[in-house]
Point group: C2
Chain length 218, copies 2
DNA sequence: TCAAAAGTGTTGCATTTACACCCATGA
DNA sequence: TCATGGGTGTAAATGCAACACTTTTGA
């Protein structure tokens, strides 16, 4: 019987919070990489699919299920983990921060959201993973509806636009943005509006279908 | 120590041959799945990256290196292989058939090119892999230059167009195709032309850079 | 001179970009 | 009445799709 590498998953959990794109990191307990941060993850037991393992990891740290979760890439450099050859299947999840109840997994010393703009020192090859994940997120934002998973059920168009601007890192034209979003037909107007502050109340919208789809197909 | 699944690679090797998109399949030796076909692949030994394993598999069956090779997806269903839990990292390779010297790997009974239009019964979850690979190939053909890996160094625009038509499965307009290709600036005219048959000779072109790149960036 | 593939431009349509003012509200 | 964010339309430019004839060659 040939000896093959071990299999792990890492889950890159994005949210938009405090006007920034943030990622959930855990801090490992000594003696492993203390002072470094890493994505939630771990070895995959035989009999469990990597999707299941990623879903489980996501649930154990945030308490949420049923959010957008996508396989990103498989990282397999034999030296990526100094303790032995571990092939890691990376996943990306998008969560709405208001639904989160963070919990520190048993094997971790700490957990928290950190902005991708100023990432901390990362363990293993997690810096590569993060770069790739951000790139993929920006790319898919443009031609899918996955942003639904970052927002509450009801939201204003300005909130939606802010999420796009924060992730893409550039300002968008308000009129063109609204025209485009509404023309895609994936949003539904709700009868309600929000009144906050001394100005005109904003209409609330929601996604017709809160599931991933490619925009041309809508 | 936790027991994790074994790690394998499968390589989906595409070529364009006989006016069809074809894939390289091997037939397993008895007692395993005889009568079924599968992609070249196998377990990844500890210490080898999956890229290396895929490159090696490609070389062992076709004798080529330095062609387009891309990670496709990781398949991890615990039941995908009835003999035990094997996570397979699938790769896609694109080769130019004229450069190929097929060899039957020791553990296989047979090897050959088969058209994707009429795929044979496939072992494991290889039918799923194939569908996904075709989809990805079509998609990437539209916004990258990866087609370079399917053609000889020098080719005519008609040959290039045929490759696109065969993979996409629909006819393309000759004038629009040429306009588009030439405007992207990724082709170089060569001084030579080919004369075959009783008609005007065709100019030969080649790719400026025979390496994968996204078309907007060119 | 004929057959066969190579090669070449223009027009309409759809999509994207740029851009500035009025509206509704609470303080 | 003023400050604040919500909401709206038009014109130019760009990109894409449709479409037919002339050129060069060898037989």
């Amino acid at each position: 019987m040939m000896i093959t590498p071990k299999v792990a998953v890492d889950v890159i959990i994005f949210t938009v919070r405090n006007e920034a794109l943030q990622v959930l990191f855990v801090q490992l307990k000594p003696p492993l990489h203390t002072e470094m941060w890493a994505f939630p993850g771990g070895l995959v037991p035989s009999g469990e699919s990597t999707e299941e393992a990623a879903t489980r990891c996501l649930f154990e740290t945030t308490g949420v299920k049923d959010v957008y979760l996508e396989q990103l890439y498989t990282f397999s450099n034999p030296h990526r983990d100094p303790h032995g050859h571990v092939v890691s299947v990376a996943y990306v999840a998008l969560v709405n921060r208001t639904r989160i109840n963070l919990r520190v997994p048993g094997k971790c010393a700490n957990i928290g959201w950190l902005s991708v703009a100023t990432p901390p020192p990362l363990a293993y090859d997690h810096a590569d993973m993060l770069q790739y994940a951000i790139q993929r997120l920006r790319w898919k934002l443009e031609y899918t509806n996955i942003v639904y998973s970052l927002l509450p059920r009801d939201f204003t168009l300005t909130e939606l636009q802010r999420v796009y601007e924060i992730i893409l890192g550039r300002p968008l034209d308000k009129r063109n943005f609204r025209k485009k979003m509404l023309s895609l037909g994936m949003l539904q107007v709700t009868p309600r509006a929000v009144k906050v502050g001394a100005h005109r109340p904003a209409r609330l919208y929601r996604f017709r279908r809160r599931m991933p789809m490619i925009i041309e197909v809508l």
